[in-house]
Homo-oligomer: 524 residues x 2
């Protein structure tokens, strides 16, 4: 996914070139104070902090460069800047930063030229902490062991170093050229990255060690980067609403528009924000496990050979499967599962409860271990030498997940006295989210039946938000404002909620009138 | 000199004990944010910075201490605090800080309990950099050698560590109990302490590397102290007006009073500030070398056996000498030299040009190497086995020094349209300054002939100012305001100045009417 930064730029970047007035007997302020004065004027800041290391290098540099220097200044809080890097005004060295989407499962990093604000390279890799535990809970339990926290922190730092070095190498750069990191992760991932205790996060009343993080020294965290490189970590709202979502909101611009919109980030959890420039209401629920990866023996994350699109000819029952890289199928990813369920429903192979129907499934229907299965790909045609199946248990799990998602959306909008049909824009974020076919998601009743043009896929919005912090001067303050504006709605799982959930456990819903487009498809 | 801190207290100290509201589902903000919120309220700050190290310790500490903690917070700039130390509310450990008067020749350190704001212990030692060069110039030249700067920095840091360890030991404390340093030195000493290049300070247009210093980590400077200890270094006005003087002003309170007063700090240089709560005018001149230490083969800093007081019976010519510790005399210190010159003048042994008079001197007069000498103590009575003498060269040097001092005072007050006689208060700062007998200083015409009650000896005002920063919340902002308010008067050594200087080279002055009290003494 190539992000067009130009669409999201406002203001200028963090690299500024300044020419200082040369000192004289009439203007004999000190070197550091002279540079500060000039940077404050240039950037409209009250104060620019220059650390001892850079102050030591400054006098010789100023005189060698005839008082023309290039500075990387980062505004870590309103009107307060930190000088991070300094070289001669005509230095040819690249000044770069790294945006990090620190996912529980997958990490995406993007190397950005901080001067022209263009992406230089991008890559992704599995979070190595997966080996300790697939989810946040298992990893936090691991921190209770001796050196558990250091162990997990070391794993992610080592992986980032290795991947960053490769990324820099591919651009003919050194990690010494990297001076700023912007990291967006959920609250747990942020704590493990910073080496902060996470033990109390998962125990009532669910208290993180920190919601806001100081600007950190990259070297103190063990990251390989320029000598003075700093790390900015997105703040959290709380244990269940992390910096990845703040980053996503920042990227979406939802918080800046007068119209009320909804943003759904479907990752390991489903996180939802409803709001506009006046207010932001958020909630999170466990909707994801069945949708991403962990779904079944067959379920997997998007990778070569994985089925990501399914069409079933309602007349002939023929399955048309698309795999990533068009390789022999080895599994099915979340978006493929949603496609599959929608197509199974439209072709009558599952009923409105999501139960497999032996008749319509025909040869694909099988009972294994007393459990109904649908054979998606026979062993002859699969890339694994085994049948690729989906079981009734998998489908039940999907139905519960989609029902939870819809119920959360309904509850959140209902709390604000709105109806889902009122939403002008429905943002879908997350790598996974961006792969979902909205028609299929509507068909199974996971998301409301809105006109398709109201859905906007943001792609990796956390990475986009992290990139914004690297490239736009106003982004840090904006993130702080977003954070402060968010009201977190604790889901009250009462009888009303359970009633809504029960109604949503049908495909698409017990109230068919809410999904007119599905009725049309079903009839066609 | 025991400083009564109570006289200089306003506001409260940096150690605060807070009891946080325990977290609940209704109030589930993160630990660090909870502490910040509470400290901000308690201290009236907009922001309190909590570094990663303390954030890591915070969750366990809060729960062990039932949310009652003791915090050391230092306000490094207006409304912005830094959490430096944190322990349980009932911790018995002392929380201390070190005030440092970083003199070119002598360093004085004072260990202060930051909680009850009382002095625990105090000591002084020679600045080990003296071995590299006695004055600022020689040391800055040394920094041009390979590792010269690191060498000088290492010397002062090592000496501070050794002395601090001894001081702590004497109080049954460890250096781990020291969490904050407040250091006042001249601009050169501050640069060498922080390891900042000083090369350009002594070359036109005399530019220091920095006038304001960031709050530093003690460990990064090599100081042995608590894990998170910080170092605050007084800001400078410029190369020739250092943080030691800002500290002195802070201690004097001159900048807070409506009446115009003058402060003279006689160290290696004579530095003078004239002003009140509306304005501050400063200048510095080389008045000191002849007054402190370097004066003559005999001159020395105050130490056991050194002559610090001289009386000559005008009738009998009998010399009454007082030595420090009442030991056999081994030398004479600056205040002793001023006393001696005043007494020699009153007894007619020197004339108004400061020339030794053979007749009145009698047996004490000697010509050695074609140069007139006065034998102060014969070899039989001295503690060195040699005659203690003062030569005509020494006396000429003293006369030039006192003339320079008086001329600077006259020029500075004249620039502001004032007369020296208008001064309501005349503060004398510096260890040396506090030893001077004002009557003697007036007698030789070094300082104006004001009523004695207008002279106020401040003692070690730099150390006093450094102590204020450790014990009073408002002191850092006050130092910044003092710094910004100072106008530095570059001495214009023109014909007028030289005329005033020539007139001041007589004892007490060519205009005898300016020194009526000396006329009375001389006649008596």
């Amino acid at each position: 996914m190539a992000l067009d930064l130009d669409d999201h730029r406002d203001g200028s970047g963090w690299v500024v070139r300044v020419s200082l007035p040369e000192p004289s007997l009439k203007d004999n302020t000190a070197d550091a104070d002279r540079l500060c004065r000039c940077l404050q004027q240039e950037l409209g800041m009250d104060q620019v902090h220059i650390g001892l290391d850079l102050s030591r290098r400054l006098p010789a540099l100023l005189r060698q460069s005839h008082y023309a220097v290039r500075c990387l200044v980062f505004e870590d809080r309103p009107h307060h800047g930190v000088l991070i890097h300094l070289d001669a005004g005509d230095s040819p060295a690249a000044v770069t930063g790294l945006a990090v989407d620190l996912g529980t499962t997958r990490v995406v990093i993007r190397l950005v030229d901080l001067e022209n604000r263009k992406t230089l390279a991008e890559t992704s890799f599995d979070n190595p902490q997966v080996n300790v535990g697939p989810d946040v809970l298992a990893r936090i339990h691991h921190t209770d062991r001796p050196s558990g926290l250091e162990d997990l922190q070391g794993q992610i730092i080592d992986a980032l170093n290795a991947q960053l070095e490769a990324l820099c190498g591919a651009c003919s750069l050194s990690t010494d050229n990297v001076h700023l990191f912007s990291v967006a992760g959920n609250t747990a991932m942020s704590h493990l990255f910073a080496g902060l205790p996470a033990h109390w996060m998962i125990r009532e009343p669910y208290i993180p060690a920190a919601n806001r993080f100081p600007l950190m020294h990259a070297h103190a965290l063990g990251l390989c980067a320029g000598g003075n490189a700093r790390v900015w970590l997105f703040p959290n709202v709380g244990s269940y609403f992390g910096g990845d979502l703040i980053a996503g909101l920042l990227f979406s611009g939802l918080h800046q528009r007068s119209e009320t919109a909804l943003l759904v980030d479907v990752g390991t959890n489903a996180e939802v924000v409803l709001g506009n420039s006046d207010w932001l209401m958020a909630c999170a629920g466990a909707a994801g496990p069945a949708l991403e990866g962990g779904m079944s023996r067959m379920g997997t994350t998007a990778a070569p050979g994985v089925i990501d699109r399914v069409r079933i000819d309602a007349q002939t029952g023929h399955f048309e499967l698309h795999t990533i890289g068009e390789l022999p199928p080895v599994g099915i990813c979340g978006s493929g599962v949603i496609d599959l369920a929608a197509q199974l429903f439209l072709s009558g192979m599952i009923d409105i409860r999501g139960k497999l129907q032996a008749g319509p499934c025909g040869e694909r229907f099988a009972i294994k271990n007393d459990l109904a299965h649908l054979i998606l790909v026979s062993r002859e045609q699969s890339g694994t030498g085994r049948d690729l199946c989906i079981s009734q248990v998998d489908l039940d799990s999907l139905v519960r997940s989609k029902a939870a998602m819809y119920t959360i959306l309904e509850t959140l909008t209902g709390t604000m006295g709105m109806d889902l049909a009122d939403l002008e824009t429905f943002y879908v974020a997350g790598t996974f989210g961006s792969l979902i076919d909205p028609v299929s998601a509507i068909t199974i009743g996971m998301i409301p039946d809105l006109p398709l043009e109201r859905f906007q896929s943001l792609g990796n919005s956390s990475l986009g938000g992290a990139t914004k912090v690297l490239t736009e001067r106003g982004a840090v303050s904006e993130a702080a404002r977003v954070r402060e504006k968010i009201t977190y709605l604790e889901l009250n799982v009462n009888q009303d909620f359970m009633n809504r959930f029960s109604a949503a456990k049908f495909i698409p819903h017990t109230h068919k009138g809410r999904f007119p487009s599905v009725n049309l498809l079903k009839q066609s």
